[in-house]
C-alpha cells in the first residue's frame, strides 16, 4: 500500500501545496489502489482515469504558475453516482439510467471541480438511494472493507467503502434517512448530514426532495469539515438552499481537536437506545458518553417521545415523494426504453420500461407512495406523516433547550451480512431508527467512529440544531482526538 493513500485529505493537500508530492502522483496512487482492490469491494461504478489525471495535472500546473491553491486542491474524491456529472455516466445505481451521459453538472460537482479536487469516479449505491446496504444497486453489492461478507451500509455504501478502503480520502454521499451516517458508522469513518438546505440539491437525482441532503465522508472529522466547506453554501438554482453563510465547520473541527468540551451540554436521547439495539453497540455508545463526560461535557438525559414515530412517518413521506420524483423515467427523453416494437402503445412502452428498469425496492416504494398519495388516503397517510414531522421538530426544539447537542448510536447494529435482510423490508428499514429524526427535522447530524463490536465499527451520532453544523464537528473532533482511529484489518484487501 502506497504511503500516499494512507494520508488524510488535509495532509495530502498540504503536501501538494508545498510541492512535496504532485497531484498527479496522488491521483495515480489512488487509481492504482482502485485497480488493486475494487474487484473485491465494487465501490466504483465508473472510474474516470483520464479525467482524474487531467484534473490533477491542472492542479500541478496552477501550483507551478504560483497560483494560490484551495484547501483541498489535488485531493482525490469519490462521487456518489446520484450526483449528476457532465460528460460522466450517471446512473443512480439504476438500470433505467444505464448509459445516460448528463449534459450538465450538479452544483456540487461544479464546486468540487472548481476547488481543484480530483474526482476519481462515481460510486455504487442502492438504486435511487433507497436502501441501507447497497444491495439494491442494479450493478451488484459493495463489500465492507472490514469484512467482505458484510454490507458497507447504504445507500452511500460505495462512497463509504471507498474511503474506508483507502481508495479515496474523501467522498460525497447523500442522506435521506441516514444514507451518509449509517454507512459511515458501519465502515468506521466520519460522515456528516448537513442541515437541510445547507448544500445545494441541484443535480442530485431526487429520491425524497424534502429530505435529501448531500454531505461529506472522510477518515477524519477535519477532512469531512474541509469538504463540507467546499460543497456547502447558497445556490440560486435550488429554491430550498439557505441564503446564509456556511457554518464555520473547519474552525469548529480544529477547535474540537484540542479535546476540551467543558461547558458543552450533551443530551442523551432516551428513546434512541435500549431494546432492539445490539449489546455491543450499546456498550460502545455508553463508553463514548463516558468519554464525552471526561472531556468536560455536561451530560444530561433528554426525552423525545415522538421519535418512535419517525420510522412510520419517513416510510410514508419518502415513498410518496419518490413516486412522483421517479415518474420522469418514462423512456421519452433519456434512459432505457423497452418494448418499442411498433405495435405497443406509448403507455405500454412506459409500463414495460419501468418494470424492466426499476428494481424491487424501488417498485415497492413507488407503489407505497402512490397509495399514500391517492385520493381518500392522503389525509390518513401523507397528511398525518407531515404532522408527525411537526411533532419531531418540536421534540428537537425542546431537547435543544436542555442540550447543545444530542447523541445516540448511529445505527442499532454493526454491519450485517450481505444477503441477510434483503427479503425482509421491515428488518432493513429499522437500520434507520436513529438517523430518521434528524432527517425529518432537517437538522444536522454527524457519525464518528466509537469503537468496535465483534470486530466491526460502531458509530456515534451527534445531532445539532438547524444551521449549527459546527457543533457536530466540534464535539466529533474532540471525541476523535480522545479515541484511537479505526483502521480495517489490512489483510481483508491484501
Amino acid at each position: 500500500m502506497s504511503d500516499l493513500i494512507g494520508l488524510t485529505a488535509a495532509e495530502t493537500a498540504e503536501k501538494v501545496a508545498s510541492g512535496e508530492v504532485s497531484a498527479v502522483e496522488v491521483a495515480q496512487a489512488h487509481l492504482d489502489r482502485i485497480a488493486a482492490v475494487d474487484g473485491k469491494l465494487n465501490a466504483f461504478l465508473h472510474v474516470d482515469t483520464d479525467g482524474a489525471l487531467e484534473a490533477a495535472k491542472a492542479v500541478d500546473a496552477h501550483r507551478a504558475s504560483g497560483d494560490q491553491l484551495g484547501p483541498l486542491a489535488g485531493v482525490p474524491l469519490a462521487m456518489k453516482d446520484v450526483v449528476v456529472t457532465k460528460g460522466l455516466p450517471t446512473t443512480s445505481g439504476s438500470k433505467i439510467l444505464q448509459g445516460w451521459i448528463p449534459p450538465y453538472d450538479a452544483t456540487i460537482s461544479k464546486r468540487v471541480k472548481d476547488a481543484g479536487i480530483v474526482m476519481l469516479g462515481k460510486t455504487n449505491m442502492d438504486e435511487f438511494a433507497m436502501g441501507s446496504s447497497t444491495e439494491n444497486s442494479a450493478y451488484g453489492p459493495t463489500a465492507n472493507p472490514w469484512d467482505l461478507s458484510k454490507i458497507p451500509g447504504g445507500s452511500s455504501g460505495g462512497s463509504s467503502a471507498a474511503v474506508a478502503g483507502f481508495e479515496a480520502p474523501l467522498s460525497i454521499g447523500t442522506d435521506t434517512g441516514g444514507s451518509i451516517r449509517q454507512p459511515a458508522a458501519v465502515t468506521g469513518i466520519v460522515g456528516h448530514k448537513p442541515t437541510y438546505g445547507a448544500v445545494s440539491r441541484y443535480g442530485l437525482i431526487a429520491f425524497s426532495s424534502s429530505l435529501d441532503q448531500a454531505g461529506p465522508f472522510g477518515r477524519t472529522v477535519l477532512d469531512a469539515a474541509l469538504l463540507h466547506e467546499v460543497i456547502a453554501g447558497h445556490d440560486r438554482c435550488d429554491s430550498t438552499s439557505i441564503p446564509q453563510p456556511v457554518a464555520p465547520v473547519v474552525a469548529a473541527a480544529r477547535e474540537g481537536a484540542r479535546g476540551d468540551l467543558s461547558g458543552v451540554r450533551v443530551g442523551v436521547v432516551r428513546e434512541l437506545q435500549g431494546e432492539g439495539y445490539q449489546a455491543g453497540v450499546l456498550a460502545s455508545f455508553e463508553a463514548a458518553v463516558a468519554k464525552l463526560r471526561e472531556l468536560g461535557a455536561q451530560v444530561v438525559e433528554v426525552s423525545c417521545p415522538h421519535f418512535e414515530y419517525a420510522l412510520p412517518a419517513y416510510y410514508l413521506i419518502a415513498p410518496s415523494e419518490c413516486s412522483s420524483n421517479l415518474a420522469r423515467f418514462d423512456s421519452v427523453r433519456y434512459g432505457m426504453r423497452v418494448g418499442d416494437d411498433g405495435v405497443n402503445s406509448l403507455e405500454e412502452v412506459m409500463s414495460l420500461t419501468r418494470e424492466a428498469g426499476f428494481g424491487p425496492e424501488v417498485k415497492r416504494r413507488i407503489i407505497i407512495g402512490t397509495y399514500a398519495l391517492s385520493s381518500g388516503y392522503y389525509d390518513a397517510y401523507y397528511g398525518q406523516a407531515q404532522k408527525v414531522r411537526t411533532l419531531i421538530v418540536r421534540d428537537f426544539t425542546a431537547a435543544f433547550d436542555q442540550a447543545d447537542v444530542l447523541v445516540s448510536p448511529t445505527s442499532p447494529f454493526v454491519a450485517f451480512g450481505l444477503g441477510e435482510r434483503v427479503d425482509d423490508p421491515m428488518a432493513m428499514y429499522i437500520n434507520d431508527l436513529c438517523t430518521l429524526p434528524a432527517s425529518l427535522a432537517g437538522t444536522p447530524a454527524i457519525s464518528v467512529p466509537c469503537g468496535l463490536s465483534d470486530g466491526l465499527p460502531v458509530g456515534l451520532q451527534i445531532m445539532a440544531p438547524a444551521l449549527a453544523d459546527d457543533r457536530c464537528y466540534r464535539v466529533a473532533a474532540a471525541f476523535e482526538a480522545a479515541t484511537d482511529r479505526l483502521v480495517p484489518p489490512a489483510e481483508v484487501l491484501a
Binding site: P312, L346, R354
Partner: protein, 91 residues
C-alpha cells in the same frame, strides 16, 4: 394493487404483485401508526426550512445545445423526441 401499478405506469408481474401485496400489508400496518399521534390541531410540516418567496428575475439564460438535448433520447425524428402511438388524450 393493479390499480396502483397502473397509476404509477409500471407493469408488475403476478409473482411480484403477490410478494408486494404481502409486504405492503406489513409496511402499511406499521406506518399507519402515524395516526396515533397526529392530532387535528397539529400543523403539517412540508418543508424542513421555513423560507418563503424564493424567486429568480425574469431573465433569459442560455438553453442547452439541441444536440445535447437529443443525444440521450431513445428515439429522435425531425429534431423531436419520437414516441410510440399515444392511446389516451391529454388530461
Amino acid at each position: 394493487m393493479a390499480h396502483l401499478a397502473h397509476l404509477a405506469r409500471m407493469a408488475v408481474s403476478d409473482e411480484e404483485l403477490d410478494t408486494f401485496a404481502g409486504q405492503l400489508d406489513v409496511i402499511l400496518s406499521a406506518v399507519a401508526r402515524v395516526a396515533e399521534v397526529a392530532a387535528a390541531d397539529i400543523p403539517p410540516t412540508s418543508h424542513a426550512v421555513a423560507m418563503t418567496n424564493v424567486f429568480r428575475p425574469d431573465e433569459v439564460r442560455p438553453s442547452l445545445p439541441r444536440e445535447d438535448v437529443l443525444a440521450c433520447a431513445p428515439a429522435v425524428e425531425d429534431d423531436k423526441f419520437r414516441v410510440p402511438r399515444i392511446l389516451a388524450e391529454e388530461a
